[in-house]
Amino acid sequence: MIPENFIQSNLQGISFIGPELILTLAILLILLVGVLLPYWRHRILFTILAVAGLAGSVLPLWKLPQPAPDLTYLSNLFVWDWLTFLSKPFFAVVGVLTILLTQVTGEIDNSEYSECTILVLAVTMGMMLLVASTDLLMIYLAFETMGILSYLLVGIRARDERSGEAALKYVLYGAFTSGTMLFGFSLLFGLAGSTDLLAISQKVAFASQHPQDRLLLIVAILFFLAGLLFKTASFPFHFWCPDVYEGAPTPITAFLSVGPKAAGFVLFIRLFYPLFATGHDATIYEAVSGLDWPSILALVSAITMTLGNLAAIHQNNLKRLLAYSSIAHAGYLLMGIVSLSDLGLRSVVFYLVVYLFMNVGAFAVVAMVASAGGSEEIDSYRGLGARAPYVCVAMAIFLFSLIGLPPFAGFVGKVYLFAAVIYKKIYWLAVVAALNTVISLYYYLRIVKAMFLEKPTETIQIQVPLSSRVLLLALLVPTLGLGIYWQPLARVVSGMF
């Protein structure tokens, strides 16, 4: 016999997953249109449907009650807090930018376009579910929804040699790490006898006092770190990243480099802070006694950024170079996680928002140059500044922002991250990060130098269509704007924790 109020509360909970339901409707609609019009040659219809679905998915958010840290719904599977509230529009923006980039670059064939939009929407839905989950079962399901569908996205160009190989490597690494993560979850379940994060956190605080249980906890943490480090492309699970980013279609690469990576970082916050940190003393947390995970992660962070930056120096393929740069950025972002303070968490979220625009921007330029007759190799960027000035100035701005030079948004984001670790007196990590920023200057500026200071090999103007220019402008405005006027975003973010 199911009690009446159980049904009532679950029915009320459905309104909280409005964004996901609207995305599901959009997916079904695109599927239907794709079947009814199999020889439809215009991509614009699918683009409009997908963008409308993503835009519509954020509408129900404003009708919902004020987010609160303890407002759970659907039998405690999900939580409705500020992190959830702000992450959902974030992922909708990621999805919209990806769809628009696919539309303007034409890198994916018309025959595969409707499937591509469906998969982007479905992965976005998985990410939205993941950031709201507070239950190990739901976390695993959302994690796999996001993961399994993104393997397909990477291999969407079935006839392309590199796309297939990239998908193969992605699926093998991904299945291996998610299996490892699952084993870690099973150990946590054994320790707590529940899959609810709140219930587990109470057991963890208790178990960390006993040497036997503490060992089990450490093993569990190490196992499920595998899944998180894989999604965020951090050491030692970063090997897939350059291959997958190079082989995948460029708009999909842009999507993977911001979407699942951001979802991975939100999951970091979701798992580590409620479970393994206590003593919320205004702004500072403390790691559960006996488990020194912040030091482990600090080491991972330092190795990740150094490896990424050193490997990027030798790259001649721009997608590969940006892949290593995204590994390095995962290292920078981990700095915010290890700092164990509200300032650190805010700086992670702030940097993710900034990173979204500048990184998608850099990949967008690569995609546009490649589709306008250039290539992804750095050689074809020689003297491009004279042949396509607008695109090259945009690229230079994105790269300067990725380095973290003022007055661009990346600078403000980096300042917050550095402030977080310095505030917690982890000086060695700040020094490593500063040295890494200097290393990264070299390879980012190598592209800028090739574009503006070297002699062009050809003299023909590269024609970039108007739609591409508008999309670039839409990415440039936040990259510049958040560098000069970042207070609104900082205020929104500081309300979260």
Partner: protein
């Protein structure tokens, strides 16, 4: 037989065999099977803990059902990608897939 540790040992054995298989196998199908072994190890863990430590809500068994579903989806996707790669390479040896490197 009827103790928690028997099952935990079996689960750990399956899981480590899976990890060993992923690193040792060069055939894509073999690697896929090894990954399934890892998932099964986790499933046994969930059910054993459920049976011996927290029997009231059957959440561990439900978790296992979901793992089976996810594993099937993962295998379907992985196999379709392997078939696509096989068409081009005429081989299911992972060593042959090295177009992307550097």
């Amino acid at each position: 037989m009827n103790s928690l540790y028997t099952y935990l040992f079996l689960a750990a054995l399956l899981f480590s065999l899976g990890i060993f298989g992923v690193f040792q196998r060069r055939s894509l199908i073999g690697m896929l099977i090894a990954i399934e072994l890892m998932l099964n190890g986790a499933s046994i863990n969930f059910m054993a803990f459920n049976r011996f430590l927290a029997p009231d809500p059957i959440v561990g068994q439900i978790y296992t059902l979901f793992i089976m579903g996810i594993a099937a989806a993962e295998a379907a996707i992985a196999l379709s990608i392997i078939v696509a790669v096989f068409r081009r390479l005429r081989s299911i040896n992972i060593e042959r897939a090295q177009e992307l490197r550097g």
